[in-house]
């Protein structure tokens, strides 16, 4: 049969971001995939070197428009480690609250996009409608729908008033009810199941060898979640288990994400209950002592990794960012090979790819 090579991207309706996949297909079967990154390469690692730490945190937050809090949080944690700063307990809890709200928003967003990829626009619309609930909560707490600017080096910028906490509790209740409904739709609607069951299978061994992270790995039964393996912020005081599934296909990833949404709602409620009183910020010196450090965080898509080396000035000497999407590409290529062309968009979408993270 004749081989046909066609591009997905850089400008393609399945991808909201430009990235180029050259898919070679034999009939309807994918035989080879080539990824070309760099369309969103904004030279952020280099830009950090020319900026001081506060500006660097601002730019790093703009690595990704979905998990922006995680980036600024990880950056801040790395710098706090270099400065030997102890962050107030209240700030730690607030960071967890915003991180988990962000996870809810990201997972709902993904569920909608996944439904859109397989042509289920009604679910897409419903999920995104309810995503506005969590967007409103985030806007209320931080003042912006995306790019919250919530974390600062040494704590958080904004405090949570009791009224806000009440609103959060209300919103979380609505979300729990709606997520219950989506869980039911995503796991029982037969035409949706037809498109996700057994599609894009990644075995546990492949997931480990290819270095998959986040829900992609956890859906292949790899219980790796930086929140519980290397606890940070207030996570050591919150006792949860990583959510895994042994299905390994797109359905498994859907289930893991939906269950994680529930888990995130639980964590938010626990944080609201246990929120300690006190300061939210300690003063940080602009000059960072010489040294190097590593910080790991669990973003909605997987582990975010920062390596920062300081040379004793107010500007870093090296900032290295490893984002979960970049780590998941080798696994995605493995999933795509042998799949149907029609499944390519949903397989690519199933790792919740974030090109702006990948390229930085």
């Amino acid at each position: 049969m004749a081989k046909i090579t066609f591009p997905i991207g850089p400008q393609h309706p399945a991808l909201k971001e430009p990235e180029s996949f050259k898919i070679t297909a034999e009939g309807e079967c994918v035989v080879d995939v080539d990824i070309r990154l760099g369309y969103v390469h904004r030279s952020i690692e280099a830009a950090c070197l020319a900026r001081n730490y506060v500006q660097g945190q601002y730019v790093c937050e703009r690595i990704c428009g979905i998990c922006s809090h995680i980036h600024s949080n990880t950056f801040a944690r790395a710098v706090e480690d270099l400065l030997q700063l102890e962050v107030p307990a209240r700030a730690k809890y607030l960071r967890v609250l915003v991180a988990e709200l962000e996870r809810i928003h990201s997972h709902l967003l993904w569920l909608g996009v996944a439904a859109h990829e397989v042509g289920f626009d009604t679910l897409f619309m419903y999920v995104w409608r309810d995503r506005e609930v969590v967007q409103d909560l985030l806007e209320m707490i931080t003042g912006n729908r995306v790019h919250y600017g919530f974390t600062t080096i040494g704590g958080t910028k904004f405090d949570l008033t009791p009224q806000m906490a009440d609103k959060c509790t209300e919103g979380l209740m609505v979300l729990r009810e709606r997520t219950e409904y989506y869980k039911q739709v995503a796991t029982t609607e037969s035409s949706f199941l037809k498109r996700v069951e057994g599609v894009g299978v990644l075995t546990e061994q492949q997931a480990r060898e290819l270095g998959a992270v986040g829900p992609t790995a956890r859906a292949s039964n790899v219980p790796y979640d930086a929140r519980w393996v290397f606890p940070y912020d207030a996570y050591p005081e919150l006792d949860y288990q990583p959510i895994t599934s042994d299905l390994g296909d797109v359905l498994g990833r859907t289930i893991v994400r939906v269950l994680e949404t529930f888990q995130a709602i639980d964590i938010c409620e626990e944080v609201l209950r246990r929120l300690p009183e006190g300061d939210i910020q300690v003063r940080a010196k602009p000059r960072v002592p010489e040294g190097e450090t590593v910080a790991r965080c669990e973003a909605p898509r997987g582990e975010v990794f920062y390596y920062i080396r300081s040379n004793g000035t107010d500007k870093p000497a090296r900032v290295k960012v490893r984002t979960p999407s970049l780590a998941n590409w080798p696994a995605t290529i493995a999933m795509l090979e042998g799949a149907y062309v029609a499944d390519a968009p949903i397989i690519i979408a199933s790792i919740d790819p974030c090109m702006s993270c990948t390229d930085r």
């Binding site: 400008q11 909201k16 760099g38 369309y39 390469h41 904004r42 030279s43 020319a50 690595i63 974030c354």
Partner: protein, 171 residues
């Protein structure tokens, strides 16, 4: 007469094509959010099209990276006349904060490559502002839309500061 009808049709049915020129995703998500039940751009006849060939308005985000530069010109050329460009986000309007200090692979916003008719600054702008920008773009073609626009301005105070009209640039 025919021109009038064509103008009416264009105002009532502006199909948009979304182009990401290296943005961080936030603006793109907010553009999609504008199509969702809460904002529902379809009530103004706006449809999101996958192919630039079917679009009237290109919504461009991002500071334009060097790698995407040729592609955006191609997409612009692929769109049939008459066409309009809306630049969304602070990086889309100026390239900041990505361009400048230390950066080596970004341009200074969408208008360094193709003519822009409407700017929507904000990092990211709210979906209301994006809706408003498209409406305002259409109202430059149709004075009758001024009422809708005024109503919109009343319902969201301060929204008129969220959008900036572009210099009319020859294509």
């Amino acid at each position: 007469m025919l021109d009038k009808i064509a103008g009416w049709a264009l105002r009532k049915s502006p199909w948009v094509c979304h182009f990401n020129g290296g943005s961080c995703n936030a603006c793109d998500i907010e553009i999609v959010a504008a199509l969702m039940p809460r904002f529902d751009l379809e009530r103004f006849g706006i449809l999101l099209q996958g192919s630039p060939r079917h679009a009237d308005v290109l919504i461009c985000t991002g500071p334009i990276t060097h790698q995407i530069r040729d592609r955006i010109i191609r997409v612009y050329e692929q769109a049939p006349e008459p066409k309009f460009v809306v630049a969304v986000g602070s990086c889309g309007t100026s390239g900041r904060p990505f361009c400048g200090k230390g950066a080596y692979s970004v341009m200074e916003g969408v208008d360094s490559i193709i003519p822009v008719h409407m700017y929507v600054p904000g990092c990211p702008p709210r979906p209301d502002a994006i809706t408003y920008a498209v409406l305002k773009l259409l109202s430059t073609l149709d004075p009758k839309l001024a009422d809708v626009l005024a109503e919109f301005e009343k319902s969201i105070p301060g929204i008129e500061t969220m959008v900036q009209e572009g210099e009319p640039v020859a294509g």
